[in-house]
Symmetry: C2
Subunit: 331 residues, 2 copies
C-alpha cells in the first residue's frame, strides 16, 4: 500500500515555498525566489516544477501527489470562474508598478494547477496562518479568533463561529486597508491615505520615519524618547485596528505574528492592549491577545492543514513534526 503524500505551496512577493508531507509529518520544504518574468502563468509553472523537483529528491512519484493546499499573498480575483492573484508587487501591468520585468495584470493559479492536482484549496496567507494556528498552534478549537500579522504589511485571517471567512473572492481579512486616521498623510501601496497598513505596516512606517524598523525599536528599547513616542503611536494604531475587528466580529482570541511583532513583542503587547481594553467592555472584556506559536512555518502548516486527512491531526498535535523540518534553498 502506498503512503499518501500531500503538498503545500506558499506564494509570497519575494519567495515561493513548497512542502511535501505524509502521515509522519512534513518530508521536505524547498524555497526559491518568486519568478517575476515570462508569461503570466510563470509562478504556477514554477510551483509545479518545484513540487516535481521535491518529489524526485524524496523518491516520490509526482503523479501520486494529487492534493495541494495553497497559501498566497492577495488580492485574489476570479477569471472565468478560476482563482488567481493580482498582487501589486508582482503584477507589472498594474498601474502602480512600472519597475517589474513583466506586464502581468492577473496571475492564474487554479487554471494551471488543476492540470495536475485533483484537490486544490486556496487561502489568503493570513487565513492559512489562522487555519494552522487553530489546528496546531495558539488558537486551539477557538471558534472566534483572529490572526494578525504585523510585518512589511498588515493582514488578517478571521474566524467567526468556527468558520474561516473567505468572502466573495477569498479576500476577507484585507482589513490592513481599513481607514483609521482622518488627518495622517501616511500613504499605503493601495493608494489609501491613513489606512492601517499605510500608518504602521513595516515598509510604510520605515519610509515615513526615514529609518529601518530595527534602528527604531533598538532606540526605543534603550529608552530614546523620540523612538518610544513613535513606537507608542504605532502600537496605538495597531491596537485600534484590532479593537475595530473585535467589535465587528465579537472575537474571543487574537493571535499576532509577523516579524515586527515577534521581535518587539514585550514592548508592543502592553501598548496594543491599552488601546483595546477598557473600551466597550461587553465586547472586549475577556478577549485574549496572544502571540502566534507556529512562527515562520505558520502559512505552510496552514496550507497543509487545508488538504490534510483528519486522521493525521491527533498524531501531529502530539509530535509537532513540522518543528524539525529543514528548509532547502533552490537557486
Amino acid at each position: 500500500m502506498t503512503t499518501l503524500v500531500i503538498s503545500a505551496l506558499d506564494i509570497g512577493g519575494s519567495k515561493l515555498a513548497i512542502t511535501l508531507a505524509n502521515p509522519d509529518g512534513p518530508l521536505i520544504r524547498l524555497v526559491q525566489a518568486t519568478r517575476k518574468s515570462g508569461m503570466p502563468d510563470a509562478i504556477a509553472r514554477q510551483s509545479l516544477e518545484l513540487i516535481a523537483h521535491a518529489c524526485r529528491l524524496k523518491n516520490i512519484a509526482f503523479s501520486a501527489v494529487r492534493s495541494l493546499g495553497i497559501s498566497s499573498c492577495g488580492p485574489f480575483e476570479y477569471s472565468e470562474g478560476l482563482l488567481g492573484i493580482t498582487p501589486p508587487n508582482l503584477c507589472g501591468g498594474l498601474a502602480q508598478n512600472k519597475d517589474l520585468p513583466n506586464d502581468w495584470t492577473f496571475i492564474p493559479l487554479e487554471s494551471v494547477l488543476r492540470e495536475h492536482f485533483t484537490t486544490i484549496h486556496i487561502d489568503n496567507d493570513c487565513v492559512a496562518a489562522l487555519r494552522g494556528e487553530r489546528c496546531f498552534g495558539a488558537a486551539h478549537d477557538e471558534p472566534n479568533s483572529i490572526y494578525a500579522t504585523w510585518s512589511t504589511g498588515i493582514g488578517f485571517g478571521l474566524c467567526v463561529d468556527g468558520h474561516l471567512l473567505q468572502g466573495k473572492s477569498g479576500n476577507a481579512g484585507h482589513a490592513g486597508h481599513m481607514l483609521l486616521s482622518d488627518v495622517s498623510t501616511a500613504l499605503c501601496g493601495c493608494g489609501n491615505v491613513g489606512d492601517l497598513e499605510g500608518l504602521v505596516g513595516g515598509r510604510n512606517l520605515g519610509l515615513h520615519i526615514g529609518q529601518g524598523l530595527d534602528t527604531l525599536f533598538s532606540a526605543a528599547k534603550s529608552g530614546d524618547q523620540a523612538a518610544l513616542k513613535t513606537v507608542r503611536e504605532a502600537a496605538r494604531w495597531f491596537g485600534r485596528g484590532l479593537y475595530n475587528l473585535i467589535v465587528t466580529l465579537d472575537t474571543q482570541c487574537v493571535l499576532v505574528g509577523g516579524s515586527v511583532w515577534r521581535e518587539n513583542e514585550e514592548l508592543l503587547a502592553p501598548l496594543v492592549e491599552a488601546e483595546i481594553f477598557g473600551r466597550f467592555p461587553a465586547l472586549t472584556s475577556g478577549v485574549k491577545l496572544q502571540s502566534a506559536q507556529l512562527g515562520d512555518m505558520v502559512t505552510d502548516v496552514g496550507a497543509l492543514v487545508a488538504v490534510m486527512p483528519q486522521t493525521w491531526i491527533a498524531d501531529w498535535r502530539t509530535r509537532k513534526p513540522w518543528q524539525s523540518l529543514q528548509t532547502k534553498l533552490v537557486e
Copy 2:
C-alpha cells in the same frame, strides 16, 4: 390536524413587538411599550404575556406555540450559559443611566423564555434584519452581504460565505463602535470618542449640531450650504464605515435601512458611494449598495425566518403575506 403556529419577538429600547404566524403568513402583530421597571425578568415576562394575549385574540392555544424567533437590541451577554441583554438604555444598574426606574445590570431572556418555548433562536436586531432581507428582501441568496441600519444608532448584520456572523456572545456586527476619527470630539453612548455611531448616529449627530435631523435634511434638500456640508460629512463617515467592512469581509452586496437612510436615500446614496468606490478596486469593484426592502417589518420577518419551516418559504416569497399585516397597539 392542527396548523403549526410560530412566534416572533422584537425587543427594542422603546417598544416590544410580537408576531404570530402560520403557513399562510403572519396572523397578528402586537406592540407595547417596553417595560422598564420591576424585576430584571420583567421584559421576558411581558413578552410571554403579549404572546399569550395574541393567542387568545386569535383563538390559538398558547401551549401549542413552541417556537420563538427573537430579534433584540444588544449587547448580548451569557449568564450561566443562557443569553440575555445589557442595553445601556434599558439597564438602570449600569453606570451610564441613572434616570431609569430600575437597577438592572442584566436582562435575562433565554432562562425565562425556555420555560415555555422548546425552540428559541436569538439574533441581534441587525442580524435578524439581514436574515429577513436574505430570505424575502433585497439580498436574495447573496452569500456575502451586509445589512446596515442608519437610524438613532448605527448597527450591522454581517453575512460571509452564506454564514450569518454571531460571534462569541452574539454581538458580531457592533461595528457602529469602530473608531474612525482621531480628531473628532464626537462622543458615543458607549464612551468612545470618534466612533461611527458617535459621529453620525441619529441621536449623536442631532446633539452635535443642536437640531433635529429632520430640520437638517430639509435644509440640505432646499440647498442650504451649511446643512449640505454637514450631510456630506456625515455621508462620508458612513461610507467610510461601509468601506472598512467591505475590505474586512470581501462583501458583494450592502443593504441599507433605518429611518435616516430611508427618508434621505436619494441625497445620501451618491455621497456614500463616492467614499467607497475608487478605493481598492480588487475589493470594492462590483459591490452593490442597495436600500433594504422589508421596511418597518424587517426585524420581525427576520425573527420569524429563524424558526420558520423551510417548506413555508417559497409560498411566502410569492405572496409576501407580511405586507398586509396590521399592527395593534396594546396599552
